[in-house]
């Protein structure tokens, strides 16, 4: 499963797949059931994905909810929440263009919003999402669902629903690839070591 190769810069890259397509699918199905259980049914649930892969995952979760609970209208209860303008690291990175924010037609006031993202790391993106959300309305409750929690939190934030807890070191990188954007469903972890071979 693990492979190592020498990159052109004489850096050894160790990469391994930690979730394959079927494991991702099973994780999402499990999270969907957890959501229904926790919410005691689909009433008032709104899924807001954080662009870009969070938005795709939110759609997949909504489809599963619709399969389990035919009364749940996936299209009407899913949205996308861009957090770019609320990030606290704008000045540390090249300018990024904001992505669209889309809300369910009925809005989010009084609903239970489930924020959906691919990887939970420092918690800063979720912090920005909470700020962005409060500018859009007043949900009754906000929950957080992520495909991967890789640890190293910098803020007092934790996920309510996690696909896989993945212990990592900060030098490692976690890549989530999804069929819609990358042609394949997988979660990979990469580590780099300079000069060793």
């Amino acid at each position: 499963m693990a492979d190592a190769r020498l990159s052109p810069e004489n850096v050894t890259v160790h990469a391994s797949t930690v979730l394959d397509a079927s494991e991702i699918s099973r994780s999402l199905t499990r999270i969907a059931h957890e959501l229904l259980e926790r919410n005691k049914g689909p009433q008032g649930l709104v899924l807001m994905g954080i662009p870009r892969r969070g938005t795709l995952l939110a759609r997949r979760l909504a489809e599963r909810l619709e399969q389990v609970e035919p009364g749940f209208d996936a299209a009407a209860c899913t949205g996308s929440l861009d957090v770019t303008m609320h990030r606290d690291d704008l000045r540390r990175n090249p300018t990024r263009a904001p992505e669209p924010t889309t809300l369910p037609a009925a809005g989010i006031d009084g609903t239970t919003v489930v924020l959906v993202d691919d990887v939970l790391y420092s918690g800063r993106t979720v912090r920005a999402a909470l700020d962005a959300l409060s500018d859009l309305g007043r949900p009754r409750a906000v929950r957080l669902a992520v495909l991967v929690d890789r640890g190293h939190r910098e803020l007092p934030i934790r996920a309510d629903h996690v696909g896989k807890n993945l212990p990592t070191s900060t030098s490692e990188r976690v890549y989530v690839r999804l069929v819609e954007t990358d042609g394949v469903d997988e979660v990979r972890i990469e580590s780099r070591e300079a000069g060793t071979s």
Partner: protein, 321 residues
């Protein structure tokens, strides 16, 4: 992109990106809470050496919606009218810590000087310089055209698109118009075909080298079924310098009237009518045309805020050098 000095400098990619971001900004402006925290802690200075209430308010609103601190400096009643130079004013504002300077100046090229001479370390945004350029006006005009001609009036529907193949007629005082110059460049960059229409006295020497067509006959230009008509402001004082004989003759030959709009919409039902404002009703445009169903004049003002938010955001939000 460090400064926004002229529309001629923008590449197609930069222009489309600005328009795309502006559409996201416009979407946020339809919400109840319009303020975004993106430029918190940043200072935007509006440096207006020339009166322009609407452009100044538009930039002020844009900066405030992005949570920037805004300092507005108008030449009237300030030390500028007592002879303080652009350089000294800029140095003063630099000492106060300006991250961006929005400048409107009667001297063509003043924003270039400001950006190149090191009088300010901040980003410089040209809000209109002499008879040279007014890039954010051209951006809001193309934003409006793209939204309606490509996106069917829906925000976001035209994301990534340009104006390839669209045809725009610009009529009025091209000679003295920075709006015309910026629009010719930007529309051309975005793939649109532009026809400038004016009496020969109000066209600059060498206009035939510009990336556009030129005509002296408005009705003939409208007969080509363009997708949009943009009327430029014509100052009545030009009459005294013999650019045209009388206001009546000007409106007869080059005025945007209800009749001309009817002729245009008979050929292109989706035709858009733009005017950068302020309008001289009865000279370059009649009230009926300005307030008619094809007019986007009021919407242009709204779009101006979104476009300026996008420009400020893209120049200021990114990493520090």
């Amino acid at each position: 992109m460090k400064h926004l000095l002229s529309a001629a400098d923008l590449t197609r990619e930069q222009a489309v990106r600005l328009l795309d971001v502006a559409e996201q900004m416009a979407a946020t402006q339809q919400r109840e809470i319009k303020k975004l925290p993106a430029l918190r802690g940043r200072t935007v200075v509006n440096l207006f050496f020339e009166d322009s209430t609407r452009t100044r308010l538009s930039f002020e609103t844009a900066a405030k919606r992005l949570s920037a601190d805004v300092i507005t400096f108008s030449a009237k009643g300030s030390s500028v009218s007592k002879g303080e130079s652009l350089k000294d004013t800029a140095l003063t504002l630099q000492a106060m810590g300006a991250d961006a300077v929005v400048i409107r100046h009667a001297s063509s090229g003043a924003p270039h000087r400001l950006a190149e001479k090191g009088w300010t370390s901040g980003a410089v945004l040209n809000a209109g310089d002499g008879t040279h350029e007014h890039p954010t006006q051209a951006l809001l005009d193309t934003f409006t055209l793209r939204k309606h001609l490509v996106g069917g009036g829906q925000l976001g529907a035209a994301a990534g698109a340009d104006l390839a193949g669209r045809r725009v007629v610009v009529v009025g005082d091209v000679l003295h118009s920075r709006v015309a110059r910026s629009n010719v460049h930007l529309l051309h960059t975005l793939g649109a075909r532009v026809t400038l229409v004016a009496p020969p006295t109000l066209l600059p020497l060498g206009v035939e080298t510009w990336p556009c067509e030129v005509s002296y006959d408005l009705d003939a230009a409208l007969g080509e079924a363009p997708d949009a008509l943009m009327a430029l402001r014509v100052q009545l004082e030009r009459m005294n310098a013999a650019y045209f004989p009388s206001a009546r003759e000007y409106s007869r030959r080059y005025g945007v009237t209800a009749e001309r709009m009817a002729a245009l919409t008979a050929l292109t039902p989706h035709a858009q009518l733009l005017h950068p404002g302020p309008m001289n009703r009865g000279l370059e445009i009649t009230a009926e045309a300005a307030d008619g169903p094809r007019s986007r004049v009021v919407e242009q003002v709204t779009n101006g805020v979104a476009v300026r938010m996008a420009a400020l955001y893209l120049l200021l939000a990114g990493e520090e050098e």
